[in-house]
């Protein structure tokens, strides 16, 4: 009887794929020696001034267009004031009252169910540096290479109702930002990280008090952290304790969330417009220019896959999980012919995906070019290969054996036997050798028929066309 409704909103920090920082000309490349990419602006030497990186703005416009949001003709940068050694200025340059992107939405899919998650806003800001708390004679080490790296913080409305929906949203957003090329999506390196605001309430009741889980950098942690937090909050309330608003951290080792010790003033950021930066103007002409440079978006491509290739919505969504995957699939169709689209889809989502999964491989690293897979698909379509033989050809081509499907078929003698004379002869042999099975079949045992088919297939080492064997065998047994 204790029914609870879960309410989740996500804030995602996507690191933008620029060469240089958002307000300085220092490099953003990952993995440099400490402080080699921290210039005078990044370390906040006196007298320096920020100058906004045009490309960071282009990235924000792209996101805005991709989620159907409104892009502010004028937006304002603000100072978010707090003291921490990895923030040398004593404030983070962010956007507060007027962000560059407002509204918009993202469609997510949990199983067969589609749902729309509304976005509140997306704003540009700079990242902080990194504090290293290992032992430096009782001191903390500061690396400012990351300071000033451009981020787009994308904030949703509290529209998600389960950890599964939250993960589906995070995956859809991850797919979108990498698709439009504004973020490399590398979660290990922190290029895409989520904060989850979680609360619970009785259905229909006003929103409960939320707690914010910070810095989740994998989809698995996102799900685990939210699930733990939900259960914790429900237990607290059911035991008569009120939830206090708090920022919590997730510990992947214990699978638990715990409140950070925070000072009472921690959230008093005293935002105000940064006098060092003028308002950011984005003209309709600029938006149009950016729009022309956008690739076909996943949603549009999914709709096209359904209408042009007759795929299911689920298949279309799977094949557009990444732009590389979608391109592989379409390259495959170009070479195999549109009439074989469904077979191409099955092979890309089946054999190819399984192989990639097994070898934890990205599609860009797959040794089998889409034209080669298309070669296999064509030989299935014209009856040369059974599915079983096709898998053998796939294995061989994956291992780098043979220059294409036809070469492997030739070299290994894998041609499916479709020559009816040859099959006929084999069937006769098998019937003569298995009078008992023939008798049983005639007595009405369907199992006996399967045994006979098996014998014929065995005699051809799996190379006969199973449908053809079936048909001919039945005719023969019926006295034809």
């Amino acid at each position: 009887m204790s029914q609870w409704e879960v309410v989740i909103g996500l804030e995602t920090h996507a690191q933008l794929r620029t060469q240089s920082k958002i307000f300085s000309g220092a490099a953003t490349a990952f993995g440099a020696e400490p402080n080699r990419q921290a210039c005078a602006v990044d370390i906040a030497l006196p007298g320096v001034l920020p100058v906004l990186n045009r490309e960071a703005v282009v990235c924000a416009i792209k996101l805005g267009l991709a989620v159907n949001a409104s892009i502010a003709p004028r937006s304002v940068f603000a100072r978010k004031n707090y003291f921490y050694p990895d923030l040398p200025k004593g404030y983070q340059i962010s956007q507060f009252e007027i962000p560059v992107v407002s509204g918009g939405s993202l469609t997510i899919r949990v199983g067969e169910t589609e749902k729309t998650v509304r976005l509140t806003r997306a704003h540009l800001e700079e990242d902080a540096g990194k504090s290293l708390h290992e032992d430096f004679h009782g001191k903390t080490g500061i690396d400012l290479n990351r300071a000033g790296t451009p981020l787009l913080e994308i904030v949703t409305e509290p529209d998600m109702r389960s950890s599964l929906e939250a993960v589906a949203y995070a995956k859809a957003l991850h797919s979108l930002v990498t698709w439009i090329g504004i973020c490399d999506g590398n979660m290990q390196e922190g290029s895409f990280r989520c904060d989850a605001n979680v609360s619970v309430r009785r259905p229909g009741a006003p929103l409960g008090t939320r707690r914010e889980i910070k810095n989740l950098n994998s989809f698995r942690f996102l799900q685990q952290a939210i699930d733990f937090e939900i259960q914790w909050q429900i237990n607290e309330i059911e035991e008569g304790r009120a939830i206090q608003q708090a920022t919590v951290l997730f510990d992947p080792d214990t699978g638990e969330t715990r409140a950070m010790r925070s000072k009472e003033d921690a959230h008093d950021y005293r935002y105000f417009p940064d006098p060092d930066l003028l308002p950011l103007e984005i003209t309709p002409a600029w938006i149009e220019e950016v729009k022309r440079g956008l690739p076909e978006l996943p949603q549009a491509m999914q709709a096209r896959f359904v209408s042009d290739y007759g795929l299911s919505g689920y298949d279309a969504a799977t094949l557009t999980a990444t732009r590389d995957m979608a391109k592989y699939f379409e390259d495959c169709i170009v070479a195999a012919g549109r009439e074989n689209a469904k077979t191409c889809a099955n092979w890309v989502m089946g054999e190819l995906a399984a192989r990639m999964n097994r070898d934890s491989m990205e599609i860009a690293a797959v040794p089998l070019a889409p034209t080669l897979l298309a070669g296999i698909v064509r030989r299935i379509a014209d009856g040369t290969l059974s599915n079983k033989l096709a898998r053998e050809v796939f294995e061989a081509l994956w291992a780098g054996e043979g220059k294409d499907a036809d070469a492997v078929i030739e070299a290994r003698g894998l041609k499916q036997i479709s020559d009816s004379g040859a099959i006929e002869a084999l069937i006769d042999e098998v019937l003569a050798a298995n009078p008992k099975s023939v008798e049983e079949f005639r007595a009405g045992k369907e199992k006996a028929f399967n045994a006979l088919v098996g014998q014929v297939m065995k005699a051809t080492r799996g190379k006969a066309n199973p449908q053809q064997v079936n048909d001919r065998l039945r005719q023969k047994l019926a006295g034809g």
């Binding site: 620029t18 060469q19 240089s20 300085s24 000309g25 220092a26 490099a27 020696e33 400490p34 402080n35 080699r36 990419q37 921290a38 210039c39 005078a40 370390i43 030497l45 100058v51 906004l52 990186n53 045009r54 490309e55 960071a56 703005v57 004028r74 304002v76 004031n81 003291f83 921490y84 050694p85 007027i98 504090s131 290293l132 708390h133 430096f136 004679h137 009782g138 001191k139 903390t140 080490g141 500061i142 690396d143 400012l144 950070m260 010790r261 003033d265 008093d268 005293r270 417009p273 006098p275 930066l277 003028l278 308002p279 950011l280 103007e281």
Partner: protein, 95 residues
């Protein structure tokens, strides 16, 4: 609007300013003086006027996305109080 001594203490703490007990009264009075000016400004009728985020009515100039800074770590760290292995060292930060 006028500030209390507690407000002054809180603002000082947020700004990491060490305002001594002896300075508290004067600081409060000076801040309240500034607030009085602002109240005067707020009495002006600004209905229908677009708020500005900057005193100058121009827009931000943008920089092309190119790496334009050389590595000057050695020069910067020569004037830092303490460094090790390329890191700036600061008093221990405890979460």
């Amino acid at each position: 609007m006028s500030l209390t001594l507690d407000d002054v203490r809180r603002i000082a703490r947020l700004a990491r300013l060490d305002v001594s007990a002896a300075e508290l009264d004067t600081t409060r009075d000076q801040l309240n003086g500034i607030l009085a000016f602002i109240e005067q400004l707020q009495s002006v009728d600004t209905a229908g006027i677009e708020p500005m985020a900057h005193a100058v009515d121009v827009v931000q100039r943008l920089r092309p996305d190119a790496v334009a800074e050389a590595d000057r770590r050695d020069a910067f760290q020569a004037v830092a109080p303490e460094t090790e292995g390329g890191l700036y060292l600061v008093p221990k930060v405890i979460e």
